[in-house]
């Protein structure tokens, strides 16, 4: 994303409704700042995240995608994040195998009580993506 002629990373954060979305709300309630590059999409559970969505985001120009869910063992639906963990592990490994920067994707477990952690994670992720620069390897240039 270009802001005043300078490149700014676009970050899509998928947050599960029960823990991480609530954690992100708590970040707001506690007025803990993180960069505005992060845009949150609410999904019911981390296991709702289809790899299609991640690739779609990269294709449309996202520079980083992060999935936040309940801590393993705390899933509102009991087992959802366990499936998400396997799926993302394999998907990330595949992206790395294809030479796409491993650092562009991340999974973090953020509970509804971890507002501070949410802010810290987002600050760190944005910093990391900024260092990494623009997503070139997985963009769909027709969408630019």
């Amino acid at each position: 994303m270009q802001v005043n002629g300078a490149w700014q990373p676009t970050i899509v954060a998928f947050c599960c409704n029960w823990c991480s979305y609530a954690g992100a709300d708590l970040t707001g309630t506690n007025r803990l700042a993180y960069p505005a590059n992060v845009k949150i999409i609410r999904i019911p559970c981390s296991c709702r995240l289809n790899p299609l969505f991640i690739l779609r985001a990269f294709g449309r120009g996202a520079d980083g995608v992060i999935l936040c869910g309940c801590h393993p063992g705390d899933c509102h639906y009991t087992t959802g994040n366990y499936y998400a963990r396997r799926r993302m592990t394999l998907l990330f490994s595949m992206l790395d195998f294809l030479g796409i920067e491993r650092e562009r994707t991340r999974v973090e477990w953020v509970s509804a009580a971890e507002g501070a952690k949410f802010a810290a994670v987002m600050n760190d992720f944005v910093r990391q993506i900024t260092v990494l620069g623009e997503n070139k390897r997985l963009e769909d240039f027709r969408c630019k």
Partner: protein, 321 residues
């Protein structure tokens, strides 16, 4: 010609109403799957040789839903695919009669043609291919012209059959099928990216890989689904190619038996099987050995979990920069 005779016997005895096998295609080196409805038809055009590389499993999805029993000849590779499809309730087991055929490897027609220029006819004689060419007869060792998947054959065991022609083989735990994956993993991320760009940019989205794949047997593929907005066939951007192949590999992960058909049929010779093998290797190392299609009961790793699975941050598809 045990196979052809069995086909005739099955049809003439009325045990089955159709036989799924191979017949000659456009060229002598090109055997293509075919359904035979009478002994005469079999007599006329049924062919079985090391050139019969095509996996017949996928055809059984539609064939097993028709009236009557259909017989199919299964090489070890194909038997894994059939069992996997039975596990997924795609093949109606009661409507198929499976004849296991041992396999010493199938031929890569391109390699054969390189070894025997001006090929006009081939026949097999005890591990040697006797080729008639425009320049006279030429003998080619079968082992010299095998497909990559056969060189690193994972198993000669036929896992599902009603009848077996000859002896059943063994699994081959010594197979070096992951060596090529490891080789890529050992490249730097930049080299890996360059490698896959070189390969995937040749993709013309002909969908041959998808159409031949026994695991890719969805009623409607997500890439054909206009309602979902994921349909796209134009290889207009490198994103499209990566998108298609990553998602395809992901969708068959845990279901892919590593039959190697995708790479066999790719007109652009893209080593697509490496993507599937990468997933298989990751699942084996991270979640324990698993062979899709080896049985009907076990839970595939993608539909299972352990409390102490590794975190995605541990996922490494290769050497880091």
């Amino acid at each position: 010609m045990q196979v052809k005779e069995k086909a005739i016997e099955l049809l003439s005895s009325g045990k089955v109403s159709r036989v799924l096998g191979w017949k000659q295609g456009e060229f002598c080196y090109d055997l293509t799957p075919a359904v035979f409805e009478s002994a005469e038809e079999v007599e006329r055009s049924f062919v079985f040789s090391p050139l019969a590389g095509a996996n017949l499993a996928k055809y059984l999805i539609a064939e097993s839903r028709k009236e009557g029993v259909v017989a199919a000849f299964l090489k070890p590779c194909d038997s894994y695919s059939v069992l996997q499809l039975c596990k997924e309730h795609r093949i109606r087991r009661e409507n198929v009669y499976l004849v296991g055929v041992p396999c010493e490897g199938t031929v890569d027609p391109d390699l054969l043609r390189e070894n025997a220029k001006g090929l006009t006819a081939v026949r097999e004689a005890g591990g040697t291919l006797v080729c008639d060419t425009l320049y006279g007869e030429k003998r080619v060792d079968l082992s010299a012209v095998l497909l990559e998947r056969c060189k690193v054959c994972k198993s000669k065991k036929i896992v599902v059959f009603d009848e077996l022609l000859g002896e059943n083989g063994e699994e081959n735990p010594q197979s070096t099928r992951f060596a090529a994956v490891e080789e890529i993993e050992n490249l730097t991320p930049e080299e890996r990216y360059a490698f896959w760009q070189k390969e995937l940019s040749r993709c013309i989205r002909c969908n041959a890989c998808r159409n031949v794949c026994p695991a890719c047997s969805c009623e409607t593929c997500v890439f054909d689904n206009a309602k979902l907005g994921t349909d796209n066939k134009a290889p207009a951007s490198r994103f499209e190619e990566q998108y298609f192949h990553i998602i395809r590999a992901f969708h068959v992960a845990g279901r892919c038996t590593d039959c190697g058909e995708c790479s066999r049929v790719c007109p652009q010779k893209i080593p697509l099987h490496l993507l599937n093998r990468k997933f298989i290797r990751d699942m084996n190392t991270l979640y324990g050995q698993y062979q899709a299609g080896a049985d009907e009961e076990s839970l595939p790793p993608m539909l299972d979990f352990r409390m102490d699975d590794c975190e995605p941050s541990a996922a490494r598809g290769g050497k880091q920069a």
